[in-house]
């Protein structure tokens, strides 16, 4: 498998504060990588360094085989970026903005097709200043993908989306992956990371404390399961590393159906909250 993005020992300081303190990161080509972390953990700083928008204080960074600090227009043509917030272009219509951005690229996608992909066809002639928050965000995504990038950065792309819009958006990202685009996204929503990501990294206070597939992150797959059932009208629970054997025993005990039986593994959220510990104040 080829690597789209490789980071070793990335460091960034603002004055005395260490925003990034030795981050290592690998993202394979064609993969969706979700970077999680509480507010002020360094997610945006890391992403902006990878996008070539911010300089770093140390470490090696290679994005599509190039150091973003030395990137040229040809590298930028291969990388799509959706920043955390965008204003501007308020006097342009949606169609005009997408067409204009597409024309910056040597081989951009068809603007109408891109507008359709983000679900803004009806708003093609709407001034961007008249869009709702969620529509504005989808326009940002359209501007990010109109250059047909090999690698797409999404910084908190679905903040402010309603659940239906979020699911629609996930479909869009999945369709990008199936066409071979590598995606690195930051998000506050664990369900989003779980639904989309092949790999998840958790950034806490400038350090990457865990990396793995969402169902295996932080030893999630090996964590003890909780088996719960009802007995004498009361809820009983047992924490066990061998839920299957325990349930078989319960089955013998009850001679058939076990009332109210459930088996739960820790959710991604449980693992995440455990990883970020007490350091998460503002986030979820």
């Amino acid at each position: 498998m080829t690597t789209a993005l490789r980071v070793r020992g990335l460091r960034k300081e603002y004055g005395d504060a260490k925003a990034l303190d030795g981050v290592d990161l690998d993202v394979a080509t064609g993969e969706i990588f979700a970077l999680l972390g509480p507010n002020a953990a360094g997610k945006s700083t890391a992403v902006e360094i990878l996008e070539g928008l911010r300089d770093r204080d140390g470490g090696e960074v290679s994005v599509l085989g190039t150091d973003p600090a030395r990137a040229d227009h040809r590298w930028r043509a291969r990388v799509g970026v959706v920043l955390q917030e965008t204003r501007g272009f308020t006097t342009l219509r949606v169609g005009e903005a997408v067409r204009q951005f597409g024309a910056y690229y040597p081989a951009g996608r068809d603007p109408d097709e891109v507008i359709a992909a983000v679900g803004l066809t009806k708003q093609t002639r709407t001034l961007t200043s008249r869009l709702s928050g969620g529509q504005r965000r989808r326009l940002d995504v359209a501007l990010g993908i109109v250059g047909d990038p090999e690698l797409l950065f999404l910084d908190e792309p679905t903040t402010g989306f309603d659940p239906a819009a979020r699911r629609q958006f996930w479909e869009l990202i999945r369709s990008l992956r199936s066409s071979g685009t590598t995606v690195l996204l930051t998000t506050h929503y664990l369900e989003e990371a779980e639904a989309l990501a092949d790999q998840v990294g958790v950034l806490v206070a400038g350090r990457l404390v865990a990396v793995g597939a969402p169902d295996r992150l932080g030893g999630r797959d090996q964590a003890e399961a909780v088996v719960a059932w009802e007995e004498d009208g009361r809820r009983r629970e047992r924490r066990t590393a061998e839920p299957t054997r325990f349930i078989a025993e319960l089955g013998t005990l009850f001679r058939g159906e076990v009332p109210g039986l459930s088996v739960t593994r820790p959710s991604l959220e449980d693992i995440y909250l455990g990883l970020i510990g007490a350091q998460d104040e503002g986030g979820r």
Partner: protein, 293 residues
């Protein structure tokens, strides 16, 4: 002195402020700079045409100023056959360029930097020079429109006389294009002085001074010698002089400090300012605001 090599180099590798030097970036070919520049031109002019509030104001200013000056100062200038109204029309052209290229453009670019619109553009392969091309085009479009309206009112109300020979209109064209380009690049450079959303006063004062020392409001030949020397260092003086050569009788040139329109020197100074302005912009242009990392 800046050589043409310096320009080519600067064109090729615009640096972020604070970004590591020694970057071996490939140059965006000039054909690509021009292609994307034309895309930016169309977008800038379109956005300008939709900014009606600003448009009404910018159209009104030169007209009102011309009417004011033209009604305060009347008659012929001593020893010449030129009227004050006719001279003020040329001064107002200088003012249109200053307002559009220096003032509005410096504010607009600073606002785009502040709203992170520039940061967003930075992530695309659009070359910095293409962005400048779009800005210069928007200033030229706005200035031509303003001058047209002002002259139309001047002709109708004050008896301003327009030149009839094609040669003079040719002079008008190259002086305006070079002057507006030089001033626009200077304006883009000055945008970096505006550090915060309400820090625009910093460009207002130098612009005011520049208008007085360049002969926009006061006849250049009536300024003290030392002020004339300082004014001659900047492009606006030469722009106004070029416009006088278009709109005033040929004999008026003897009232100029140099007893001549100095077209050769004028072209040289404006071209030099374009080159200096371009290098300045490419070397100092920042895509992000100070409060953004």
């Amino acid at each position: 002195m800046v050589t043409t090599d310096g320009v080519a180099e600067a064109l090729a590798a615009p640096q972020d402020t604070g970004q590591a030097e020694a970057a071996r970036t490939r140059r965006a070919p000039l054909s690509e700079v021009w292609r994307v520049g034309r895309v930016r031109m169309a977008a800038e002019v379109l956005q300008l045409s939709r900014n009606t509030g600003l448009l009404i104001f910018t159209f009104a200013v030169p007209v009102v100023m011309l009417l004011l000056f033209g009604s305060i100062f009347r008659g012929k200038i001593d020893g010449t056959s030129a009227t004050y109204q006719q001279v003020y029309a040329t001064g107002m052209i200088g003012m249109c360029v200053i307002n559009g290229a220096l003032q509005n453009l410096a504010y607009t670019v600073a606002a785009e930097r502040h709203s992170k619109a520039l940061k967003r553009l930075r992530t695309t392969p659009m070359p910095a020079a293409s962005y400048f091309i779009g800005k210069v085009a928007s200033v030229l479009a706005a200035t031509v429109a303003q001058i047209t309206v002002m002259l139309a009112v001047g002709v109708a109300v004050m008896g301003i006389r327009l030149p009839t020979s094609p040669g003079r209109w040719l002079t008008f064209t190259w002086v305006l294009v070079l002057g507006a380009t030089a001033c626009s690049l200077l304006g883009i450079g000055m945008s970096s002085l505006i550090r915060s959303e309400n820090g625009s006063a910093i460009v207002w004062l130098p612009i005011m001074v520049l208008q007085f020392i360049s002969g926009v409001f006061i006849l250049f030949s009536q300024l003290p010698k030392s002020v004339q020397v300082i004014g001659s260092l900047f492009p606006v003086k030469w722009l106004c002089q070029g416009m006088r050569s278009v709109f005033l009788p040929e004999s008026f040139k003897y009232a100029e400090p140099a007893r001549s329109w100095e077209h050769g020197r004028l072209a040289l100074v404006l071209v030099a300012w374009c080159v200096v302005g371009l290098v300045l912009c490419l070397k100092t242009f920042s895509w992000r605001g100070r409060d953004d990392g």
